[in-house]
């Protein structure tokens, strides 16, 4: 296996917030490689930088240093020398395209659009990606077990139903990389188990690559591999 083995390669990631004495360094030279079709869980204590890592990998916030390569495509600015012109800048439009075409997000707080029905949340996701809905939405809703309630707006749905819709939205365009930030964090144990089963099934049946941030050891157990973070670095499991 060569370069193509990895859907995601992150190297030397640094990310800090603030400046001067109040500057907080969250990621400190983090390296992470994720194979195609792998289900990876990232664990670690609160404040260790897990969510920041996910935001950097999802191209929602740029790292201060380091690189992220997604599906062989350079997705972060890169210095190639010392001079002021020796910086290859990845334009925002390219990052947006990579997010659109290759990444799906599942958030702890679902982040469904409150003004749209569950069905239309998924349809909008496809529309943004320039894809036609066809019958795919109904199939997905049925697969997620929320076909009955898809006409309702999120406020009328249970948390479990909302998160299933969020997963359906995240995988509707068949992204190469699914990034999940504490997807079970707001769910009770029954819904948590059901959701993990759905994610696991997506990974098994469709070889969906998944990077899941979680506090929960039981959730992490569903993954193929678990890496542990501490103080902005991977301390165990990266191999």
């Amino acid at each position: 296996m060569g370069e193509n083995e990895y859907i995601l390669r992150a190297a030397g990631l640094h990310k800090s917030f603030g400046s001067g004495p109040g500057r907080v360094e969250v990621l400190r030279g983090l390296d992470l490689n994720v194979r195609r079709g792998e289900f990876l869980a990232v664990m670690g204590p609160s404040g260790c930088g897990k969510s920041t890592l996910l935001h950097v990998l999802g191209l929602m916030t740029p790292p201060n240093a380091g690189s992220v390569v997604i599906d062989g495509e350079e997705a972060t600015d890169r210095e190639i020398g010392e001079g002021p012109d020796d910086l290859i800048v990845v334009p925002e439009s390219r990052k947006a395209r990579i997010r659109r075409e290759k990444i799906g997000f599942v958030f702890q707080r679902f982040n469904l659009l409150s003004v749209l029905s569950g069905h239309d949340n998924i349809a909008l996701s496809l529309r943004i990606r320039g894809l036609r809905a066809d019958g795919r939405i109904d199939e997905l809703l049925a697969a997620m077990g929320v076909a009955e309630v898809a006409g309702r707006k999120p406020a009328k749905l249970s948390m479990g139903e909302q998160q299933r819709l969020a997963v359906a939205r995240a995988v509707a365009h068949s992204p190469q990389l699914l990034l999940a930030d504490e997807p079970t964090g707001s769910l009770d144990s029954e819904n948590k188990a059901a959701l993990l089963e759905l994610i696991r099934r997506a990974n098994r049946q469709y070889a969906q690559t998944i990077v899941m941030i979680t506090h929960s050891a039981s959730a992490a157990d569903a993954a193929d591999r678990i890496v542990y973070m501490k103080d902005g670095k991977i301390i165990d499991g990266e191999h």
Partner: protein, 405 residues
């Protein structure tokens, strides 16, 4: 699926309604005020153009604007001279008919109006296509009052003629014909008493709106009340023979030096020249109203952006480009603008009907031209108003917005 901008408009009903209302008020003001200002002037010009005449002849001292002319600046000799004008070697008079009128102003029903003194026989030529409505009649129909008063005015004496109002009324001198708008405004009908120029007139006839003036009285009465001399006229309406070019007659009239003349069509431009400044005021008010209306849209959209940073961040996380976000904000603005503009045109039509019902003397002319102007202004304003909120939307920090509780 329901497009996101439409879903947002429907979901935030009150906010959307307020935003659209702001535009509606702006558009309504634009269409109604413009329609009112231009409509009222055009209505006056239309009435003058409706007179069955080609030229208006008046004393040269009034120069090139006769919109406020009154008094008896012309004499019978002037009228006769105009009636004798020939052009192009043709010995026949160029003018088929001369209608001398005496204009004065008097307050009727709480508002000042032009009151036209005219011979009963000449009245029909000043009524446009209308005629005295059934149930009414013309004043001094047999001309007896005019003959009597002329004789009184010409009789030798100390130069001061004092006729009691009762005598004037008894001889038919205090009769008035009014138009339907004045009748509606002052709640007058045939037989009603109406106080004007210090005398109690009686309405004897009503003519459809569109006549030269709102009120007509016997010309002899006008002489007595407003000038004191017989056979004095403010202006002459001259009807040319069909084969006579107006320009040649105009030149002959102006050559007299004492007289001047314009075509009835030129009266419109005189009105616009004298009162067109009103358009500037109206347009200034409209501009201020529209700016306020679109500031309203701007604030509405800006509030929307502030309230929906998470939504925008979700769209961005799904890969929506900045242009897409800007387009969504713009689309929402244009929906509000379109709804507001449509409501504004509806309000304008309602306002025009209400204004004309409550104030019959005013004319509100709502034209497609002004509706189209309002639509374009709304489109441009709505787009401009969306720009700053749109710019704020595309600058939303995705991570910060997603983490915002």
């Amino acid at each position: 699926m329901v497009p996101l901008p439409i879903a947002n408009v429907l979901h935030h009903k009150l906010r959307s309604a307020l935003g659209a209302l702001g535009v509606a008020i702006g558009v309504c003001m634009l269409v109604t005020l413009s329609g009112l200002a231009r409509g009222s002037l055009n209505e006056v010009a239309d009435r003058w153009e409706a007179v069955n005449a080609d030229l208006i002849v008046y004393p040269a001292r009034w120069l090139d604007n006769i919109t406020t002319i009154d008094g008896g600046g012309l004499s019978q000799a002037d009228a006769a001279e105009v009636g004798r004008i020939t052009v192009g070697g043709n010995p026949s008079p160029a003018i088929e008919r001369v209608v001398p009128v005496f204009l004065s102003r008097a307050s009727i029903g709480g508002q000042e109006h032009n009151v036209v003194g005219v011979e009963p026989a000449d009245l029909p030529s000043l009524l446009g296509r209308g005629q005295i409505l059934p149930g009414g009649r013309c004043f001094d129909a047999d001309g007896a009052f005019a003959k009597w008063l002329k004789a009184e005015l010409e009789a030798p004496g100390d130069g001061v003629l004092d006729i009691s109002p009762e005598e004037l009324a008894r001889r038919g001198g205090l009769e008035m014909v009014i138009d339907t708008r004045l009748a509606a405004k002052a709640k007058l009908e045939v037989g009603s008493g109406v106080y004007a120029a210090g005398h109690d007139f009686t309405v004897v006839g009503i003519v459809p709106a569109g006549a030269l003036a709102r009120a007509f009285i016997p010309r002899a009465t006008a002489w007595y009340l407003f000038d004191g001399r017989p056979e004095r006229y403010t202006m002459l309406f001259a009807k040319l023979r069909e084969d006579v070019p107006p320009g040649a007659v105009l030149n002959r009239i102006r050559a007299t030096k004492r007289l001047n003349a314009v075509t009835t069509g030129e009266y419109r431009s005189m009105l616009e020249s004298r009162f067109g400044i009103m358009y500037v005021y109206v347009d200034a008010v409209n501009a201020v109203t529209l700016v306020v209306a679109f500031l309203f849209i701007l604030v509405t959209l800006y509030t929307m952006v502030i309230q929906r940073t998470r939504e925008i961040a979700i769209l961005r996380s799904m890969g929506a480009a900045r242009l897409y976000i800007l387009r969504e904000v713009l689309a929402e603005s244009l929906i509000l603008t379109f709804l507001g503009a449509a409501a504004g045109v509806g309000l304008s039509l309602a306002a025009a009907a209400i204004i004309q019902a409550a104030l019959p003397l005013l004319t509100v002319t709502i034209t497609w031209e002004w509706i189209a102007t309002a639509a374009v202004v709304a489109l441009v304003g709505g787009t401009a108003a969306a720009m700053y909120p749109g710019w704020c939307a595309i600058r939303v920090d995705v991570v910060e917005a997603l983490n915002f509780e």
